[in-house]
């Protein structure tokens, strides 16, 4: 392993942010904290994006590794110990300076600190703890901090770090124990789930403390999250969703992130992905994840053993609705909140607007449009005062034919973002809509 001691901060930042980029979580949400005199920073509940990188992902936190030296040899990871890359490490001082100076200029919302495992899990966790302590206590940083818990580290260290951070996360990486064994020989599932449980218990205990003493220090106030790699092992979507659901239920996770596998290493046990990373699959998983967290869906309603993967041509909600046409159409002026939430084309915001607006008068389709309902999807499934918008057959084939036509373009955009499209005069159902919007065919 080549360890460089004499790199400049520029070079270190380039190496250690490049090594951190496969971690998806860059959210700064989940906690509202006012500024305090004598400190720098605050946190806002919704989270704030400060910039967007060329891949369209938001840059909210200064996402870096403390070091990219690692004792583990996980096959999917760019920092695996057998890889021949330049290795380096920040000092706690450098991390603090970068965070504060970026923060003052409003480049970032806070710090995301992860790390390769240097020497041992405890040693690395302690380095992270010392850095956070310096940042919070010497530099009086009051903004957002997201930190990784190192699997296998001493519970006491994890607890102490948790009182300094806003969000902690431990990456599950692969949904099943077999997958983990195959690709990450140094880790095991137990090592990952144990600290996860510890943080969950810490948050619950802390909640009671906060109820009694308002001044009690907050433990991981923005909750914990995790990440799973999509497409590195042969698990299907159903298994992924069941794991995610279990994590939400049993571990109170705030978020599960899905990361389309990008092959950075050549290894016989990794899949070759000639079509690029499985972005559409990742997109469908996120759509389903939202359905579970905000729309009251269960994983088993969306997928089953017999149909273990998501429909490529339809989003999970439309797909579900088409298989349950007996529940439709619903009457917008009378249906309750959760029934409306299950209508394709309606979201949390628009349903809330509908519920408050209909108290003061009957809604028609024109009004629904104002509330933000996507009528081109919703109109197959709703009635206003007993009437549908157009004469529509409530029939699976008929509706899915129409919905698929609209979805096809966006599917194409996601699954083949880097290639050029051959212009064709035939079998291109979405051509007319493209020409209408500005006369340019993409």
């Amino acid at each position: 392993m080549l360890i460089q001691e004499s790199l400049s901060v520029q070079e270190k930042l380039e190496i250690l942010s490049d090594a951190a980029k496969y971690d998806v979580a860059c959210t700064s949400s989940g906690v509202d904290r006012k500024g305090k005199a004598g400190t720098i920073g605050n946190a806002s509940k919704a989270g704030i994006c400060h910039s967007f990188s060329a891949d369209g992902r938001c840059i909210s936190l200064l996402k870096i590794l403390f070091t990219n030296q690692c004792i583990y040899d996980c096959k999917y990871c760019i920092n695996r110990s057998s890889n021949d890359v330049v290795r380096t490490a920040f000092t706690p001082e450098e991390v603090c300076q970068l965070t504060i100076q970026f923060y003052r200029r409003n480049y970032i919302e806070g710090l995301f600190l992860s790390s390769g495992v240097l020497t041992s899990a405890d040693y690395t966790m302690d380095l992270i703890y010392q850095t956070l302590k310096k940042l919070r206590q010497e530099y009086h940083f009051h903004g957002y901090i997201h930190v990784k818990a190192i699997p296998g580290a001493d519970p006491l260290l994890i607890e102490k770090t948790g009182f300094l951070a806003d969000r902690m996360s431990i990456n599950l990486e692969l949904p099943t124990a077999e997958g983990l064994k195959k690709l990450a020989p140094g880790k095991n599932r137990d090592k990952i789930l144990k600290p996860m449980k510890q943080i969950q218990n810490g948050i619950v205990t802390n909640r009671f403390e906060l109820m009694e003493y308002k001044k009690a220090p907050a433990f991981v106030p923005a909750g914990q999250s995790t990440q799973m790699i999509v497409g590195a092992t042969p698990e299907n979507d159903y298994q992924m969703m069941m794991v995610a659901e279990a994590l939400y239920k049993n571990y109170d996770l705030k978020r599960v992130f899905y990361s389309a596998f990008v092959p950075v290493n050549q290894d016989s046990s990794l899949p070759a992905l000639p079509g690029g990373p499985p972005l559409l699959r990742e997109h469908r998983l996120y759509q389903a994840d939202w359905l579970m967290r905000f729309y009251g869906f269960q994983a088993e309603e969306l997928l089953s053993e017999d149909r273990p993967n998501f429909n490529v041509l339809l989003d999970p909600k439309c797909d579900w609705a088409l298989r349950h046409l007996e529940q439709f159409p619903v009457e917008v002026n009378r249906a309750d909140y959760f029934t409306l939430l299950r209508v394709p084309g309606m979201g949390v915001k628009s349903v809330k607007r509908i519920i408050t607006a209909r108290r003061s008068g009957i809604l028609d389709f024109e009004a629904l449009k104002k509330m933000g309902v996507v009528l081109k999807r919703a109109h197959y499934f709703i009635t206003c005062s007993g009437r549908m918008m157009y004469p529509v057959k409530i029939e699976e084939d008929y509706i899915s034919r129409h919905l698929v036509g609209e979805e096809r373009r966006s599917v194409w955009d996601i699954s083949s973002s880097n290639t050029y499209r051959q212009l064709s005069l035939f079998d291109d159902t979405s051509l007319s809509t493209q020409v209408n919007s500005g006369g340019i065919v993409v």
Binding site: V9, Q10, L13, E14, I15, S17, D18, A20, K21, Y22, G35, A37, G38, T39, I40, G41, N42, S44, A46, I48, C49, H50, S51, F52, S53, A54, D55, G56, R57, C58, I59, S60, L62, K63, L98, Q101, F102, R104, R105, N106, Y107, E109, G143, V262, P277, L279, R353, T356, A357, R359, S360, G361, L363, E366, A367, K370, M371, D413, S417, N418
Partner: protein, 259 residues
């Protein structure tokens, strides 16, 4: 004959217009509010009347909104007055006509066109404010001063100021709206204030601490190395960060696009 009241574009100006139009007792259908500088053509068969800014009248309207409709409705009116919609004066007037008899529930009655117009303006103002809380960039100047420049479509600087005052309470900073030539000044550990009396050459008088800010360069490098090449997606980036924000950001000083 229709009477058209021309009011000043500030919130006091608009609300003075509302008061005058209402108090004229000509009937709501026979009056209309327009901004003095909206640049629209004049209408035939109508008489024009200019309304001077009168903070007393504006205050009366504000008190009436807060007492007879709700605090939330006042917030809606205030934000709408900051929007860049050229017909905002008349839209606010129509909203109030509908709002006074209905009361507090009016803000959620989106099925009504007058309410919907207000909702749209507020949404635009709120969205732009939220984006700018992230997209504002401060540059370090000599004498411990941070200067941020923005060019927003709506007049959101007063909505941004509390956020940064809370966040950077210990810093001297200036937030300057290039389009409206006004600025929020924040002396360290003190309250912020808004001013539009700036000498025209104020920007030349303050100097950057160094020609090449080290951290500006570091951030550019960070942005580049954090992006995953296999996932490059400029359209997605454009949707989240429209081009109009980019001229004010140092990371785009070499060009508005990454690729």
């Amino acid at each position: 004959m229709k009477t058209i009241y021309l009011c000043d574009s500030s919130i006091e100006g608009v609300l003075s217009g509302v008061y005058t139009a209402w108090a004229s007792r000509k009937g709501h259908d026979n009056v209309k509010l327009r901004l003095k500088d909206d640049g629209a053509t004049m209408e035939l068969f109508s008489q024009y009347e200019e309304v001077p800014v009168d903070s007393l009248k504006a205050d009366k309207v504000i008190t009436a909104i807060r007492n007879k409709i709700s605090e939330e409705a006042y917030e809606v009116v205030y934000k709408a007055a900051l929007s860049n919609d050229m017909e905002r004066a008349d839209k606010i007037y129509r909203f109030l006509i509908y709002g006074f008899p209905v009361g507090a529930g009016v803000v959620s009655m989106l099925q009504n066109q007058a309410v919907y117009d207000m909702f749209q303006m507020c949404r635009f103002v709120d969205n732009e404010t939220h984006l700018l809380t992230g997209f504002v960039r401060f540059t370090e100047m000599e004498g411990d001063l941070l200067v941020g420049r923005i060019g927003p479509k709506n007049d959101v600087i007063v909505l941004l100021a509390p956020h940064f005052a809370d966040r950077l309470s210990g810093e001297n900073w200036v937030l300057y709206d290039v389009n409206r030539k006004k600025a929020v000044l924040h002396p360290a550990y003190r309250h912020w204030y808004l001013t539009d009396f700036l000498p025209s050459d104020w920007e030349d008088k303050i100097v950057k601490t160094s020609v090449e800010d080290e951290y500006e360069d570091l951030f550019k490098r960070f942005r580049k190395s954090i992006s995953i090449k296999e996932r490059t997606n400029p359209i997605c980036q454009l949707n989240h960060m429209p081009l109009r924000y980019r001229p004010y950001m140092p990371e785009f000083s070499q060009g508005l696009r990454d690729i």
